[in-house]
């Protein structure tokens, strides 16, 4: 039976393939950007509060920092305890236009040895985990090949 692809979290990213983007919101009054999205009130205390509009975040940014997870994280992270643990890499990425740092897992196969702070990465669609009928999708960061 084919798996249905579903986002692991609703409304945080859009499209598959080349058009893939993280989705935040932007305050129409002060232009502050929020990710994860704020849909009720602008969190800028100096802002009288405008409406919040969905906005795609920059596709590329530079690495603020990175680490990895050599041990299996506890639930609610989903992993198969029957299989040996495969470490994943985490990258915090600074998006220049939004002046925000966004954390994400690196694309599969990217290790800390491949990374340096300041290196350019881009957001790509990824798979968080799969269960019986569903492929749960997420965002990943992947180096573009442009060095720090």
């Amino acid at each position: 039976m084919p798996h249905t692809r579903k986002p692991a979290v609703a409304g945080w990213f859009a499209d598959e393939g080349d058009g893939f983007r993280l989705l935040g919101t932007r305050c129409t009054a002060c232009a502050s950007v929020f990710f994860p999205r704020e849909d009720t009130h602008c969190r800028n205390p100096h802002c009288t509060g405008g409406s919040l509009e969905e906005t795609p975040l920059s596709r590329k940014g530079r690495i603020w920092s990175y680490t990895d997870s050599r041990y299996r994280p506890p639930s609610p992270y989903v992993s198969n305890p029957e299989l040996p643990w495969e470490p994943f890499t985490l990258i915090a990425v600074e998006l220049a236009a939004e002046r925000i740092v966004v954390l994400g897992q690196a694309a599969p196969g990217v290790t800390v040895a491949d990374l340096t702070v300041g290196m350019e990465v881009e957001v790509v669609p990824g798979v968080l985990h799969e269960d019986a009928g569903t492929t749960w999708t997420t965002w990943h960061w992947r180096p573009t090949g442009v060095a720090a």
Partner: protein, 396 residues
């Protein structure tokens, strides 16, 4: 500037993995603090419990659980929770009651029985909870954030894993001298380097464990202290419980992203720096006045960060300060004379109280082999999940 409150008693239950409930640890710490103060539990007008999240309702809603275990005597009760900052919030609540004249003498208690392994959110699906989401979507454990900070320091300031290891070496040597510490063995830099990587670049011995433990304080008005015959008690002069300012541009537990600084320039100081500044301002002192500091060394690298955030040295100079020996016993400003979290492990609601216990013993001159000669002023610093600042200044 506010008035001081007196620390009449300090008490702890040793940290470890003892297999008992948190009530047992908290009650033992409370009895120790009462004995240290020379007071009977029935003399206490108010009890403030720092909650653990273990045990159904937060710590059975801690304040009253401790009061019941000690024997109901009708005291006013307060229960607080602010993650790692819970202890400071408990001290702040007690101080406010004393300064407002609502209570003369207050017992503050925090205790935890921590599960083994990574801390994790409580069960259930909560897709609107950032703490749940960072585990679910990213598998981002607490050590992952510590790893991010450590790597950032290496890239920006040139810190090395060897620098980080030296923090552990220092703190383990101090923990070896502390009867309340869980780990009482000295550790070498080679042992740190040989321990397993948990969250690159940090290794097992760079990261604090999770522990059982309890800590308590008896606080009073200065008038009460004088009537009680405590002529020159240790005094709490400031309690900082500030929140961040928008935009908070340092990625903080449990967040998946920082605030955006596109519309508002970031404040001149980071959140952690503002925690210390608020404490200094309230106490009317500066970093140059300190005899010692107890900081929240969740990781070795984070201790170096606190040196800078407390103003013990300039930005990026934490590793240099450590290597000069300034933060070791006998140095200009010894840090984590208790042995720190490196030697204790986290017992969340007890930790900020335990930091003040160490200041109390140091300022009294009763810290034994860990004693900082002539200690007059001490500061504690920590930070609770979701933006809870915590810092206490004590003087004698």
């Amino acid at each position: 500037m506010t008035d001081d409150v007196a620390v009449l008693g300090a008490g702890m239950h040793p940290w470890g993995k003892w297999g008992r409930g948190f009530v047992a640890y908290g009650t033992a710490a409370a009895r120790a603090a009462l004995a240290d103060a020379g007071l009977d539990w029935r003399d206490i007008g108010s009890v403030v419990g720092a909650d653990t999240v273990r045990g159904g309702y937060p710590g059975h809603v801690a304040g009253a659980t401790f009061a019941k275990a000690l024997g109901w005597q009708g005291a006013r009760v307060t229960s607080v929770y602010a993650a790692c900052a819970s202890g400071a919030q408990a001290i702040a609540a007690a101080r406010a009651q004393i300064l407002a004249g609502l209570a003369d003498v207050v017992l503050v208690v925090g205790a935890d029985a921590a599960p083994k392994g990574f801390f994790r959110p409580a069960g259930g699906d909560r897709p609107d909870d950032p703490d749940w989401l960072r585990f679910r979507l990213l598998g981002a454990t607490n050590p992952a954030y510590f790893g991010l900070y450590a790597r950032r320091r290496m890239a920006v300031h040139g810190d090395t894993p060897e620098d980080f290891a030296l923090v552990k070496v220092k703190n383990a040597a101090l923990g070896a001298l502390n009867p309340y510490a869980r780990y009482r063995k000295r550790v070498t830099a080679e042992e740190v380097a040989a321990s397993a990587v948990v969250a690159d670049p940090l290794r097992l011995l760079d990261i604090c464990a999770t522990s059982d433990g309890g800590a308590a304080l008896v606080l009073s008005s200065l008038d009460f202290a004088q009537r009680h015959g405590a002529a020159r008690p240790v005094r709490i002069r400031a309690v900082s419980t500030v929140t961040p300012r928008f935009p908070n541009t340092v990625l903080d537990l449990p967040d998946i992203a920082t605030d955006s600084a596109v519309a508002v320039e970031p404040p001149q100081e980071t959140f952690r720096e503002s925690i210390a500044r608020a404490a200094y301002e309230e106490a009317g002192i500066g970093p140059e006045d300190l005899s010692l500091a107890e900081v929240y060394d969740l990781s070795t690298a984070l201790e170096l960060q606190w040196y800078e955030d407390l103003g013990l040295c300039g930005e990026g100079e934490g590793a240099k300060l450590l290597r000069e020996g300034a933060t070791a016993p006998g140095g200009r400003i010894p840090v984590n004379t208790s042995g720190g979290l490196a030697s204790f492990g986290e017992a969340v609601p007890a930790q900020a109280i335990a930091q003040v216990c160490e200041l109390t013993w140091q300022l009294r001159g009763t810290a034994g082999d860990r004693q900082v000669a002539g200690a007059r002023v001490g500061i504690t610093a920590n930070q609770g999940l979701f933006g809870h600042g915590s810092s206490v200044v004590a003087v004698r």
